[in-house]
Chain length 204, copies 3
């Protein structure tokens, strides 16, 4: 138990969450700092990344059971120190960066890809490519991805969605239900569908 | 195992999903074509339809664990070939038709009914009618339903909602978080709350 | 079984839900009237209130498995008679009042607090304060709360969000996907993000 005492975490040396009802360990390419709290390793149930250090969590990160690290084969994600993820679906095909001191509420979705092509003919090909038992699966069309960067001390409200290529500046707040399709400067509040700036915060 | 080899599916002859943690079989009035992949039979946990062939799934349909076929007693649903349902709540009191080559993301909701009357007095009666242990339950007021039709090669983004009577034309895309209250023509992108056309796609 | 017969409920004398897969009893400071139907005691998995009579449910209330009474230490919630909660996340730090004959759909969120300060410096302090294993945790900044009051016969559609301080008048309807940031009068329909009145209902 020395390990746990020093590291102040609820993850065992076998990468299991203590008292968890989900019975699989945290994937080997997930790294965390001291003070990591994980409510359940079920948050990695959609994790498919084969990248080294696919998820790198800072110190004192807390991840509650509503989260899912839904990372594709090439997906990576970093999370800074003291960030709290209540119920976030992190869908990374390339890279999603979340800063330190961030707080994310329930039913938040963050994606660095559209996952499917906009062009109808290519989209139809993608549907064929994704059928698990289809013998004549074509290759998937090239996926457009664009990293998402959420800077330090960002707060994302319930049900908000952050789409590919978006950067959210330091200290900013995304209101509940906002659909964020474009980058957001530092020190503002955005709200609405699509999200627009509704308030300026005093920067320190 | 001949059955499974021919049909290329992860459903056993006893209608159980292989390696599933949910222990109930797929309801007998659900029909599927070759190549059906079902992540868990839990997607039928809210299924109440007593109709024959209540759900008819085409070939090479894939349904992931975030889905729910929440069909009322008279509800029916058809899904075409090569359609992928990631996390869709399908609420059918009458009929929801989903075409071939469609893709639906997480937390999508589709309903062919408002489920309750708009008129306040009738709505109050519906509340009484729905109380499970109330001895003097009145009959439910007549439910207004209108079928939903989603044509081929439609892509519905994360958190979008499709309401009763809506038809979505071939090849069209519903952006993440869009609330679709009116029919959508073919070959467009709709977004917003309420959803409006934001882009024309080139038809093939 | 006399108890159950008289009270017409599916809760045992030991406060367990009959045939439930979740194995914890309903918390002792939750009170209900005759005719209470509870799909699973899992709806109290986020319940932390230490208040006496923290949740008071009227007669013939029904709570389905998508609900969560996510009450903080000081949070309280009342629900009137014949109200049906399908899938509501009730986040109360102070008080959320729900009337009689209300109906709430899937993925509805109701909160009486923003949970974190808007001011960036205070928000950063809150992130430190919320880290479970941080030895130098500062106190949490004061939380702003404002009770939510949902009057009788209110119907809240799929995916709608009701934010702190909001009162929703009798008979009113919140459309699917609406983000309600301001109080709503009686006998109207509101929709949109942010929600605005889109229809007047005939009052009785």
């Amino acid at each position: 138990m020395l390990f746990e005492f020093i590291h102040m975490t609820n993850i065992t040396a076998e990468r299991m969450v203590e008292h968890d009802w989900w019975t699989r360990p945290i994937p080997p390419n997930v790294i965390w700092g001291d003070g990591f709290y994980c409510e359940s390793s079920q948050i990695f149930r959609h994790f498919k990344s084969t990248r080294e250090n696919a998820v790198v969590l800072g110190k004192h990160v807390s991840c509650y059971a509503g989260c899912s690290f839904s990372l594709g084969k090439e997906g990576t994600c970093t999370v800074g120190d003291f960030t709290m993820l209540n119920g976030v679906l992190i869908m990374a095909e390339e890279r999603i960066e979340i800063g330190s001191y961030c707080m994310m509420s329930w039913n938040v979705g963050i994606a660095d890809s559209d996952f499917h092509p906009l062009d109808p003919a290519q989209r139809l090909q993608d549907a064929l490519a994704l059928a698990p038992y289809y013998e004549k699966r074509p290759p998937r069309p090239a996926l457009r991805t664009a990293p998402v960067r959420i800077r330090d001390n960002v707060w994302i409200g319930m049900g908000a969605v952050i789409l590919k290529g978006v950067e959210i500046g330091e200290n900013s707040v995304v209101a509940a239900g906002a659909i964020v399709t474009k980058s957001v400067p530092a020190n503002v509040v955005v709200a609405g569908n699509p999200a627009v700036v509704v308030k300026q915060l005093e920067s320190k």
